[in-house]
């Protein structure tokens, strides 16, 4: 009996561990795209703060990557049934799926801000700070409503 319970407990533990790792491909992909954003924002933020020396090629490469992510078709990644209530390991709130149009508008705001960053990155160091502010605003604009707290 003891053995049986122990086995059951162990298996339950394994099952939980497995769910945490086996996120749906869509969730992994969207978390990945946000990481790509964060890494490239890090380069531009470093330049704006003076921690990284400005050169047009570095700044533009980062900005181009942000634009690249902005072109990914989001409905493919935000698939029905992959919200925070249905999947453990995502903070995408179910409200996204209730307000897909608004969610799309918010993504468009990011797209616009990323395009402006592309211009700013080629222009010079001082243009990057304000463009970052706008980009950050587009992140906040969406996270304020659609990302669950940690």
């Amino acid at each position: 009996m003891k053995k049986l319970i122990t086995t059951a407990v162990l298996m339950a533990g394994l099952a939980t561990a497995a769910t945490a790792q086996d996120l749906p491909a869509e969730v992994k992909a969207r978390q990945g795209q946000f990481r790509i954003m964060a890494l490239n924002l890090g380069v531009l933020g470093g330049i704006a703060k003076g921690a990284i020396e400005y050169d047009a090629a570095t700044a533009s490469a980062a900005a181009d990557s942000l634009v690249g992510v902005s072109m990914v078709h989001q409905p493919t990644l935000f698939k029905e049934g992959t919200d925070s209530m249905s999947v453990d390991g995502t903070r995408a709130m179910p409200e996204i799926w209730d307000n897909m149009d608004d969610f799309g508008t918010k993504w468009e705001a990011y797209k616009t801000a990323a395009a402006e960053m592309q211009t700013a990155a080629a222009t010079g160091k001082d243009a990057i700070g304000p463009a970052l502010g706008k980009l950050g605003g587009s992140c906040k604009g969406c996270h304020d409503t659609y990302r669950a707290p940690e």
Binding site: G45, K49, C139, K140, P149
Partner: protein, 292 residues
């Protein structure tokens, strides 16, 4: 009979003392006499105090129309931010002393206690000129005729008089930490502890909803029921002062994740303050005493 003779007067006295103790305490009107509010200066107070974050309509696009209606869940029920626009449903007809009583004492013009979901325990430390400026600025905002929604609070918390007891226990109006130049000075403390009322979310509450000041900024469960509000104390928050100031300006964490939830509204306000103010707040945060 002999016992009753004693008990009845004792009960009357106890009830009298209870009523006296729980009666609303108001500001001294003399402190506000002769003050003239400056609306332009009031806009900065309004931004730093984050009034709009809670009082704009839940779906309102214009965050300066202070219609109210956003729900705030708590262990005691759900509070709805009231209309505080300059309309008959809001602050029309109030004078500066009414406003000061509301903001710094949690007392309505009719003498009713407000629930401490409204952070008057922090605003109690607001300078009188700032209160006057804030009041002047709020008169310039658009009016909304939407009536305030009643709070959804069960017995016994629906008895407003009981809030007098709550205030006796938890409403001191004192600062929690001493001001020092390394901790952002008077300005940093004023911004964190009074205007921006950071502790309201970042400090845990006791069973009666009072802030547990022994765990100041130690993080707390999110009153919405989802997740937690992070601790700001150095045992948990490892960002530099520059990181904190940059986060308050841009909404980016040091690893370029972005701010979310209600904090996005807070960053939106901080981004409109001066770089000196943000750095003062950051220094206050970095100087917080560590918890276990």
């Amino acid at each position: 009979m002999g016992v009753l003779k004693f008990l009845v007067p004792a009960a009357v006295v106890a009830a009298g003392v209870g009523l006296w103790l729980t009666a609303p305490t108001r500001v001294d009107p003399d402190r506000y006499a002769g003050l003239t509010g400056d609306a332009a200066a009031g806009e900065k107070v309004f931004t730093a105090a984050g009034c709009a974050s809670c009082h704009h309509a839940p779906t309102g696009e214009d965050k300066l129309v202070l219609t109210g209606g956003q729900p705030f869940a708590s262990d005691f029920g759900t509070f709805y931010a009231p209309n505080i626009s300059p309309s008959d449903q809001g602050l029309a007809g109030w004078d500066l002393v009414d406003f000061a009583n509301a903001v710094t004492r949690g007392v309505s013009p009719e003498g009713q206690h407000y629930y401490p979901a409204f952070p008057y325990t922090a605003y109690a430390k607001m300078q009188t000129q700032d209160v006057a400026d804030l009041f002047a600025y709020m008169q310039t905002l658009p009016a909304s005729d939407t009536p305030s929604q009643a709070h959804d609070v069960g017995f016994p918390f629906n008895i407003r008089r009981s809030l007098g007891g709550w205030k006796l226990l938890f409403f001191t109006g004192d600062y929690v930490l001493p001001a020092s130049p390394e901790a952002g000075g008077e300005r940093g403390r004023y911004l964190v502890e009074a205007l921006a009322h950071c502790a309201e979310c970042h400090t845990p509450r006791n069973a009666l909803g009072g802030l547990d000041t022994t765990r100041w900024m130690g993080g707390a469960p999110n009153p919405s029921g989802q997740g937690t509000i992070p601790a700001l104390t150095p045992d948990k928050l490892t960002w530099s002062a520059e990181d904190v100031a940059y986060y308050l300006e841009s909404g980016f964490t040091p690893d370029y994740d972005s701010v979310g939830g209600h904090m996005a509204e807070v960053v939106d306000k901080f981004s409109k303050l001066s770089a000196e103010d943000r750095m003062a707040v950051a220094q206050y945060v970095k100087a917080l005493p560590a918890l276990d």
